[in-house]
Amino acid sequence: MGNKLLEVKELRTYFHTFKGVVKAVDGISFSLEEGEILGIVGESGSGKSVTSFSILKLIEEPGVVEAEEILFKGEDLFRKSEKDMMKVRGREISMIFQDPMTSLNPLYTIQQQIEEMLKLHGNFNEGQRKERCIELLRLVGIPNPEDRLKSYPHQFSGGMRQRVIIAIALAANPKLIIADEPTTALDVTIQAQILKLMKELVYNEGASLILITHDLAVVSQMADRIAVMYCGKIVEEGSTDDIIKNTAHPYTKGLLNSIPRLNKNLNRLEQIPGMVPNMFDLPRGCKFAPRCKYSKEKCLVEEPKNIIVGRGHRTACHFPLKEGYILD
């Protein structure tokens, strides 16, 4: 495989609110190789979105980001100034957000919005910019791009808007694209179109992709590797195959079992009991212990360390569903 593009070490993002400290992201580490698609999966409140904002240092008061290192192409983003970060955002790392209805400015045409990105990151003259706009729109599968340049966002449907947003994200040839629930607001048929498009683009343009979603099925279709988050921690990380077939963490197992399947007839779904704990009042030991059917005394008091259960497959669990060894 290729070189490491992104390496996040011990990332912590805490929000200091009046009710107390919310440890939205609590000491997570992961890395991403060039050309790779990493899926980050988690339920609401797991800290998956905060992770992406933290990497780009887009966290605002009362949030505080801390990390040992956030290495991107060998440079430490965590120690970069705001001014240097501006050059990274959009050009090197771009983001695609969940809501296609609000991510575009309704007052500007599609061309203006793509050109804005081109002006910021790249030396193009006017003619080249227009050509690049058309090229990008064609790339994301918008029919008759020449005619659509002067259209406003409201003249596009939800799926088309998400395509435009992807075009903007691609405008400066970024090395890394972070997509935060890019298809959650879309219908299944449109979701299928967009996912297909994103996968093709990532391979053809040689970019890497971090796909953040709550939907394990979507991630399993798209990603090379998957990180499962729960309460601000990565509980399991590994190749897509390992996560789906050689599941090591009870939470991942629970998630997989609670998804209704199209091709299976089950009378009852297996469910994870209880609910995600209150972020102000997290359990002491393993965060998942109160809901875990395998939990023992140790889980309630001691926080689990990372255990290697396979090649490139680790989990944070005292009693993983697979044999492993602790690496320190």
Binding site: E43, V188, A192, K196, I244, P260, R261, L262, R268
Partner: protein, 347 residues
Amino acid sequence: MIKLLEVKDLVQSFNLTSDFLDKLKLKNGRVTIESRVVNAVNGISFYINRGEVFSLVGESGCGKSTTARTIIKILEPKGGKILYKDRDITRLGPKEMLPLRKEIQMIFQDPYASLNPRQKVKDIIMEPMLFHRVAANKDEAYNKSIEILKKVGLRPEQANRYPHQFSGGQRQRIGIARALAVEPELIIADEPVSALDVSIQAQILNLLMDLKDEYGFSYLFIAHDLSVVRHISDRLGVMYLGCIVEKGSKEQIFSNPLHPYTRILLSSVPTIDEESITDSLELKGEIPSPIDLPSGCYFHKRCPFAKEICKKVVPQLKEIEDGHEAACHILLGEEGDRDNEKKGYTR
């Protein structure tokens, strides 16, 4: 089997230009009167047997939620018939509907919008009880509401809290408790799990099924998620642009989809077990506007199999096998092939 609810050719539309001044339009130098109408539901028919789960599936804007709200008469139907226990309730006024309101209840999609933020949980559940005299007095209603809370998996001491103190899944449980309060027979569930996290979805789906087994409800289940529908329903109807394009039993539709739209919908669902998205049948374009409905088959512009006839003639629902109907000129599947042969079409 006894039919609990039957809907015949139900029509619902909304006039976007209800104000007279809005209707005036300047066209070619002349003032004309014109109104824009959203055709949300265009003549759909189905029935629900007692103790059965019938689902309406479709993408956003297909009219499935509008259908639900019309059946429960929050919206007045514009055409067609609604029969409940063989009684025509289409034109009943609010007073005559009252006894039926106790028998048909609804569970809503958004757990954050479906509970009054200024009402305590116990009041939310007691209100319909007291209004419909299911409980004789406040004490009885309170005790009953505690029982119901336990049934839906909440603790009795949570009765005195306000909705904002609960998580999404718990709120949905409160919404279910409110529907149970009046001991209904038919529950209309409008996307009850689509706003919830995956692990919570399973809890709520299981709860709905357990309650059905215990009380013998019938459900009209509205959803966009085919895997959820597959899990919960006995029979289902697939909706597109205000019409049912295919209906039948769960087995019939999932193992042998006849309509191209159903087939594409099925192949678009991401699954864990097999690669489906990258080699799925791709649907061209997006849903047309319900203001200007397409001619012929509403689906023809996006259909990969469309023929000349699809542009002109509106296809009618045909029964292809027992209880399995589809509205398409060019049907898919074995039964479809036989039917197409008769007509001389090839795919």
